[in-house]
């Protein structure tokens, strides 16, 4: 029962969505919309689970005097302040929550995003080694694209931007399409396995 019920729910939901995709009419639309609404409601309740998990994990660290307890305390304080301000004063423009989000969280998110530039540099330095013929081709292509995409590239050789464009739109695009088609078929095959109950590993079985 513990496995059969989820498999049955997956089958009914999957079949409903397939019918909604190929069918039309108020009954089909209403059924699929109801299913999507249920999904949103379940997602909303699940958010509570997430909040409970955060508090539980970090409270445990504080109470067991874990070496990271100060980070945990900081997290819980921020959690209460941010959540509390939203609940008490609302989350619209100009509220305390909005101010905290715009002035503290948003710049921190931008900082994390900008760290990517540093990580791309170190990853490229390490990864682009001409160890074989194929990696040498990859290395040359990467350098042409990098130079072709910046203003300096055209001073080195005026044809570089065109070469870079060709690499991006022909070989790179061909490979991406191949990966995409394979992935789409893989996703469809996995969906079919789930709907038919053949695939149960996501339930911890198999």
């Amino acid at each position: 029962m513990k496995t059969r019920l989820p498999v049955l729910v997956a089958f009914i939901s999957g079949a409903l969505m397939i019918i909604a995709f190929f069918g039309r009419g108020s009954m089909v639309d209403a059924a699929s919309e109801t299913a999507l609404t249920w999904q949103s409601i379940v997602g909303g309740f699940a958010l509570l689970l997430g909040a409970v998990s955060i508090v539980r994990v970090h409270w445990q660290k504080i109470s067991t005097r874990h070496e990271d307890r100060f980070y945990s305390a900081c997290l819980l304080v921020c959690f209460v302040v941010m959540g509390g301000s939203g609940v008490v004063f609302g989350i619209g423009g100009g509220t305390l929550f909005d101010g905290l989000f715009q002035r503290i969280q948003a710049p921190m998110m931008s900082t994390m995003f900008s760290v990517l530039a540093f990580f791309i540099a170190s990853a490229a330095y390490r990864a682009f080694r001409a160890r074989s013929v194929s990696s040498a081709i990859l290395l040359v292509a990467a350098m042409v694209v990098m130079l072709g995409r910046i203003p300096m590239g055209q001073y080195i050789y005026h044809g570089l931007p065109a070469w870079a464009d060709w690499i991006m739109t022909v070989p790179s695009m061909a490979v991406q399409r191949g990966i995409l088609i394979g992935a789409a078929l893989g996703a469809a095959s996995m969906s079919l396995r789930i709907i038919l109950g053949v695939e149960r590993t996501y339930l911890g079985r198999g």
Partner: protein, 343 residues
């Protein structure tokens, strides 16, 4: 429809004009439509999967026949057809036909596998390395980090990631290796907790530490900051990233690389693959992620579905070659373009 399926459809979009109405009237078989669904027998003693696919095929056939009935001359007078008139999106007939061919191929090979046919799947080094990674972590006495992507549970890549988690959790439970599963959304957290709990229970471990599967943040950069910090502090011996990833992929994988962890990644997000390939020891590319659960479980029925998928891939490749030759030669393969048009 998941994102990849939409993209596949979108890629073939606008390659021609649809004349579905003509196609339907010319190609649809004229046969009685009543009871197409009800006549499909349920085989006594068949297992759930067998029964379900028969029901599905029956439902599909019945639905298709009944809904299309209204479009066919002479059939629209039937009571069932008039009752359900116009219920089918005729403009999606090509998608339905392709879906049925695909589903038919997958189901055929699953049936063959159930009858004992041998299914060969080429070795996937990244998956073979999972056991090696767990062994390394056990020897070093350090944890393993498993990230089932940063998508929600309605993303099929997350499901694929969670399928692999079950196997990893089982092996870590067997060798008492600490496991860390930080997740970005609450629903995958609940699913991951259940999967790990089941795996631990199967291996005789009854207590699940709340630190094992934990919700971290609802935003990807906050998430990557937290996961990066955790990796730097706990210095895991192995890190496994399986699922959908966005810009945080390199932020996490590069930190993992700096800690010296053996890293295995798998994603079907083409824009994140280069980052994983640069920062990880093994990377599963695209469909390999979806094949992973079948590969790891060794279940012939699941392996059979991969074979069906390959058949469809051959058909699409053939269509691409024929289409390219036809267009290059100046012919207009309208029927081929129509077949792959999404509406």
């Amino acid at each position: 429809m998941n994102n990849e399926s939409r993209l596949l459809g979108a890629m073939f979009l606008r390659m021609g004009q649809v004349r579905v109405d003509r196609m339907v009237s010319e190609r649809m078989p004229r046969r009685p439509i009543v009871g197409a669904c009800c006549n499909t027998p349920l085989r006594p003693g068949s297992d759930t999967a067998g029964s379900l696919w028969e029901v599905l095929i029956g439902a599909f056939t019945g639905f298709w026949m009944v809904c299309l009935g209204s479009s066919l001359p002479g059939l629209s007078t039937l009571p069932a057809a008039s009752q359900f008139a116009g219920l089918f999106r005729v403009e999606r007939t090509n998608a339905l036909v392709l879906s049925l061919i695909f589903a038919g191929a997958v189901l055929w090979y699953i049936t063959q596998a159930r009858r004992g046919a041998k299914m060969y799947v080429r070795p996937i080094p990244g998956l073979s390395a999972v056991d090696e990674a767990v062994g390394r972590a056990t020897e070093m006495g350090r944890p393993i980090v498993f990230i089932p992507g940063t998508g929600d549970l309605d993303e099929i890549q997350t499901i694929a990631g969670l399928s692999i988690l079950g196997r990893v959790a089982r092996v870590t439970a067997r060798y008492a290796t600490p496991l860390r599963v930080p997740v970005l959304y609450p629903l995958p957290m609940a699913a991951a907790q259940e999967i790990v709990r089941e795996a631990y229970f199967d291996e005789g471990v009854e207590h699940l530490d709340p630190q094992t599967v934990q919700y971290v943040a609802g935003e990807s950069f906050s998430y990557s900051a937290r996961v990066g910090g955790m990796m730097l502090r706990e210095r895991p011996a192995a890190a496994i990233y399986m699922g959908q990833f966005t810009a945080e992929s390199l932020l996490i994988a590069e930190v993992g690389q700096s800690t010296g962890a053996i890293q295995i990644a798998g994603t079907a997000s083409p824009d994140q693959l280069p980052f994983f390939i640069a920062a990880c020891d093994y990377t599963l590319i695209g469909e390999e992620l979806y094949a992973a659960s079948a590969y790891l479980s060794g279940d012939p029925r699941m392996l059979g579905s991969l074979k069906g998928q390959d058949l469809m891939k051959v058909l699409i490749a053939a269509a691409v070659v024929v289409g390219t030759i036809a267009v290059s030669a100046g012919w207009n393969p309208g029927w081929l373009l129509t077949m792959f048009e999404a509406k």
